[in-house]
Symmetry: C2
Subunit: 207 residues, 2 copies
DNA sequence: AAAATAAATGAACACTGTTTAAAAACTAAG
DNA sequence: CTTAGTTTTTAAACAGTGTTCATTTATTTT
């Protein structure tokens, strides 16, 4: 009965090859500009074969999407060792920003592009499953901060959204090339400069 | 010599009709899903004709893009009457957010989509001309705040970027449907709730 | 009315995502 | 070892896309 297992492995391997090819092309030329035929050419299969492994183009990029969240989550794991919630919150922001700037196309896919989300909200209920995990992590950290006495006068849910929005805003303006409006000599560092301003604001809100 | 002028007017009128049709379709089904043939059908012209008025599809949406900035700018005009820079900054944020939520597709085109920007940065130098105006307005307001003694310890450029990022982050998460992760009963108000949290943070930074 | 100019057309090109009938490859049973 | 049955892969086809261009149509000038 080892043959069925080997075939299963082969199938999984080709599935993985498709994903690797798709990711390569996507990082090279973007999602929209990458066609099924391009992917097929790269793995030297016919375009039709890809539809035996993925329902449609969206499903391919949704698979990559999930991989991205696993990456981000694994980067967050070091935070378990940070007991001070305020310190953890800041380190979390730094990890988030670094991940986005180091993997702009993946971040784009996860948090900016709209296609993958629509795909998920079609297969109803479990809307953007991956997103919940990361936001819950942020929310619980902020709750800890509030419980310890920080952010007096602020409310958990709205503040969590605000914090997420701030880091998302910075990196997405960068990724989608809206930073040309800031001073030319500051463009390379503006996201980190902005993050530091944000940190010093958070410090002031500590009490 | 009135004939040439009338022809000029006719040409301008058809150009405008293309833009109106393009905008209609775009608001209905999105930029990507709107084809030149769709636009041509709506104005009852052949697809080819459109290329007499616009170089390519990008140029059509770049024209709409410019119109969006004029809209946003005109909303900002009331701020000239607000002498207190801190008050002006907050009202500015509210106008920005309201504009984005009331015209999500236009905002998307202006600040999230990447195609129009690339088009501009190809026709070199004057990169994203429209964006400069709005950001300069924000920067000068924040400079006034600093000059009056607010935001002590913060720096003009990075803080301006941070403030912009915060409001942009909130509305773009909303527009690109990443708000499913916040509590279900808060989703409709979360952007305004977040904005209010932001305002109260700004107040704390006044001194 | 004829010539010149401008505008609009529709067909064509090279793409796209996706479907499907047929072919090839491989496995299992007799 | 051959035959039957599956699974995998393919190539062709469909309906769509942005864009170009020779040709036709309409208008203006001479």
């Amino acid at each position: 009965m080892g043959i069925a297992e080997r075939k299963e492995r082969d199938k999984e391997e080709l599935r993985e090859r498709i994903l690797v090819a798709a990711k390569t092309l996507f990082l090279e030329k973007g999602v929209e500009k990458t066609s099924i035929r391009n992917i097929a050419d790269l793995i030297e299969y016919s375009p039709g074969s890809i539809y035996h492994y993925f329902k449609d183009k969206n499903e391919i990029f949704h698979a990559l999407h999930q991989g991205g969240f696993q990456q981000l989550m694994s980067r967050m794991e070091v935070l378990a060792a940070v007991s001070n919630p305020m310190e953890r919150l800041k380190r979390m922001g730094a990890i988030y920003v670094d991940f986005a700037l180091e993997n702009p196309d993946m971040y784009d896919l996860m948090f900016i592009k709209d296609a993958p989300i629509l795909h998920v909200s079609n297969s109803n209920e479990e809307q953007w499953k991956e997103g919940f995990g990361t936001f819950n992590f942020l929310r619980s950290t902020i709750k800890e901060c509030i419980d310890v006495g920080h952010f007096r006068g602020h409310e958990e849910e709205a503040l969590s959204f605000l914090v997420w929005s701030t880091v998302h805003g910075m990196v997405s303006l960068r990724i989608r090339r809206r930073c040309e409006v800031v001073l030319a000599q500051r463009q390379d560092t503006i996201v980190h400069d902005g993050l530091n301003e944000f940190f010093s604001i958070l410090d002031r809100l500590s009490s």
